[in-house]
Symmetry: C2
Subunit: 215 residues, 2 copies
């Protein structure tokens, strides 16, 4: 009667990934407090003991899960800047749009981000991870801004450029939060439109078509 549970041996990489995904799901659903080893294991379809086989402790699992999350977020965000054959201004607009539409606007990802970042004040490791991700993101923004202004024959100094990047970063972040927390209050594409207009206003860019502007 000792019916021991059947199981399959998955590859190491696969199991680690499954466990990390199960961890992120658990955290998103029940918060850090509710993400217990047993909950995570249940979600991953294994028993709790197995986790210790792949991770030294719970803390390590959480850390790797957060790193994975950040990696996915920044990867998706930067991908929008990759368009080769487009004007700087178009690329900037595409970047803003990419950050303010699905799948970046996502309540689950936001919950994860907020839950983890809430501990940045107490956890220096987390704080540094965020700092690096943030600076990387801002540098990308700054680079595109430089290109956009160069195309307009404007020569901003370093401080000006930095301020623009900070402001644009804030616009994107702020709208991202609004969209994640109250997505149904905005029609599709509305946030992106607001974002593009705000960013172009920040950079002092006039409307694209100079003639025929009624209003």
């Amino acid at each position: 009667m000792s019916a021991r549970r059947k199981f399959r041996r998955e590859g190491e990489e696969r199991r680690r990934q499954d466990l990390i995904d199960a961890t992120l799901d658990s955290v998103a659903e029940h918060g850090l407090e509710g993400a217990t080893l047993r909950t995570i294991a249940l979600r991953a379809g294994v028993t709790a003991g197995l986790i210790r086989h792949y991770f030294p402790g719970k803390e390590d699992l959480l850390q790797e899960a957060y790193a994975t999350l950040m990696g996915r977020m920044t990867e998706q965000a930067k991908a929008a800047l990759a368009m080769e054959d487009a004007s700087p201004r178009q690329r900037l607009a595409a970047f803003v749009t990419a950050n303010l539409d699905a799948p970046i606007i996502d309540q689950r990802v936001f919950s994860l981000w907020a839950t983890f970042i809430g501990r940045a004040g107490a956890d220096p490791t987390l704080a540094r991870a965020h700092r690096e991700g943030y600076l990387g993101f801002r540098n990308e923004v700054e680079a595109v801004v430089a290109e956009v202004l160069a195309a307009e024959r404007r020569k901003p100094d370093a401080a000006e450029l930095r301020h623009h990047a900070i402001a644009i970063n804030a616009i994107i972040d702020g709208l991202w939060i609004e969209g994640c927390l109250a997505g149904e209050m905005f029609s599709p594409g509305e946030l992106a439109a607001i974002g593009i207009k705000a960013v172009e206003a920040e950079l002092g860019l006039g409307p694209l078509e100079l003639k025929g502007g009624n209003q």
Copy 2:
């Protein structure tokens, strides 16, 4: 030898407030997971059992703590708009500044906000509380924006006004986050300056002194 601990009977309101403050401190420092009844009680200078005397359960305590936090945040934020004898534009600038300088820019408050808001996706009560706070805030912004534009003889329609409010809200939120998470990267007043410039750009306001502007 049964040296029972000495104690004082505090007023009910005082005790509740102390417990709530101790709860917020605990959450800010150790996250929701680390905020146990015993930790909270220790911080409040009482024993754990007492909490049950004032709150039906831990969940209720956390809920009240969150409500208190939100109340303080919005109260401080709105207070900046109260200036009576000032031009709309000055009041808007003061509002932005108030939200981007101490004591609103504060890592502890941010940690609390993030920790709680991270559960908004799973907790409808929290989600609604946030929604109301957010809309209240945005309506305030919208009202000032309307005044500012009116003073400039501009007559925006409702949609335009709404978009401005959303964008300005995003700018403030985004800069607030940047400041809380990496405050030492910005010189004092820098975020506020960036914010004001960004907001005025969003509204299409020219520089205040039209003549003599030597860059």
